[in-house]
Subunit: 307 residues, 2 copies
């Protein structure tokens, strides 16, 4: 297609105006929010995972695929510091898919479901009639924690930009086994007033651009401060891997500098948090390289500033 | 696969015990119910529609496919007499799928969304990397109406069995254009105390067997009373078409006989309702043919009783 998924999604979001009373958060964030009266609301996210695109049936086990499908949606719940409630899973099975295989896929789903206390409450099992590949669609419902859901659009000039864990090289192994940051997100929200947050699914460079665009701000990332994963370190260009590869499923968040100091002091989880830069008023997404040069941080990579 | 979808679904449902307080309705009904506190609950359903299985891209327009995908889930909301709240839609696009095509699919989704007041609040757009077919996964959230959601398991011996509209021949045309019985379900629930209800997606014979099994009862259908659609009437065996073809998306419900009389008297909707039989204590699903013979009503068809 000629447009990016972000552009198409924005276009879809513009086609119908949602009532902000009934739908406080609509199309374009990690989850949408449905207000149900009595001060009760739920959030919802749907993700389609495809063979050869999001996993490879030739190398991943079905249990890994089931786990990953759930974990990706759990990461969306974490992205807004919300609490998973339940999931439904629809599958499209290739011709000849066996019952034992379906049960293996189910075992992976239940592994994530049990670990993150998010019961599987329904689903749909369909089969392709002719040659086609496995698709797994997980839809997850969450509820707000003690604080309102954290959106992508709240980043403020001067904010510290933080990330959990380390980035890059996920494709080697971690993308099938990652631990969605559900608890860490709750802890971040408890210890600080987060201005913006999302999970890093398409790479730091792409996802930070989303926060910048949706918040109407710029950013300056310090390349030397980006936590490069061990797996990214084995690659030809570790920094590029950390910035661009995606499927990290770590949290990317912003908050006031004094809040960051307090948060960093109190943080005692095994998963580290790092300050990687600041939100700016330049309107530009930039990165300061280790040698001091400032480059433009584009979705999918950095390149020399023009003009 | 060796087991039917019903058997597999039942097996999945048995793997983890859901808390009945948090999940009053779990796996195995038209929707699952999530209790959220404050007396507030939502219901959720997910449906995967596949090219060549649920529609044929060679003959259906993308707008029709979008409409049908939403309408099938709206029919699930109707099946329990619940009120649609919102939908999310995930799509897996074939290689070479164009932006205009995606917008046409979206137009069909919005057509149903507008008509049934069920906003599209989010989604996921993914693409196959190699040759594979269009998949559309709709997940819909509804809320209870004035009465609790009507389940499949409440049919009682002596109940009248009713259906809306007429059955069979949906594949000719109606399966792409049907009107989910959302309003009719609300009206049925308002006028009567429904004991059991579901929508007919796999054919009256199959779906009535589900109500019988989940309620622990038998049934006697009067073949002469089954409303055969005009489209089914053009086929070689109209009654078989009405009983077995599926994708009718009409409502199948049971209620006490005195309630039926009252309901039938007050019913003034354009969509008719018909009494097609009674719930029995025989433990058998049966059908009385126009010539008086009694046959077994099996999922997918009737056949001579053995023994």
């Amino acid at each position: 297609m000629s447009s990016s998924e972000d552009e198409i999604t924005a276009w879809f979001g513009q086609q119908r105006r949602l009532s902000p009373t009934d739908f406080p958060i609509g199309i374009g964030d990690d989850m949408s929010q449905l207000a149900l009266g009595q001060g009760v609301s739920v959030l919802i996210t749907t993700d389609m995972l495809l063979d050869e695109t999001h996993f490879d049936l030739k190398v991943a086990t079905l249990q890994q695929i089931g786990y990953k499908s759930m974990a990706a949606s759990l990461s969306d719940c974490a992205a807004m510091a919300t609490i998973p409630v339940a999931a439904v899973v629809a599958v499209a099975l290739p011709v000849g898919f066996r019952e034992e295989q379906l049960k293996e896929l189910h075992a992976g789903i239940v592994l994530a479901s049990d670990k993150y206390d998010c019961p599987l409450v329904g689903g749909d099992i369909t089969s392709w009639k002719t040659d086609a590949r496995l698709a797994v669609c997980v839809t997850m419902v969450s509820r707000p924690g003690e604080k309102p859901p954290v959106r992508r659009s709240g980043a403020t000039v001067g904010d510290v930009i933080g990330v959990t864990g380390s980035l890059g090289g996920s494709g080697l192994r971690r993308h099938l086994e990652f631990e969605p940051r559900v608890q860490e997100a709750q802890e971040l929200a408890r210890l600080a007033d987060l201005h913006a947050m999302m999970d890093i699914s398409d790479g730091l460079s792409t996802d930070l651009n989303r926060i910048g665009r949706q918040s109407g701000v710029g950013a300056m990332v310090e390349a030397a401060a980006v936590p490069v994963s061990v797996d990214a370190g084995t690659q030809a260009e570790p920094l590029q891997a950390a910035l661009n590869e995606g499927e990290d499923f770590e949290l990317l968040f912003t908050l006031a500098p004094e809040q960051w100091s307090e948060l960093h002091r109190k943080w005692d989880r095994p998963v580290p948090i790092s300050q990687i830069g600041r939100i700016t008023d330049t309107g530009r997404m930039q990165i300061r390289m280790p040698d001091g040069r400032i480059e433009e941080l584009k979705p999918g990579g950095y390149e020399h500033l023009t003009g």
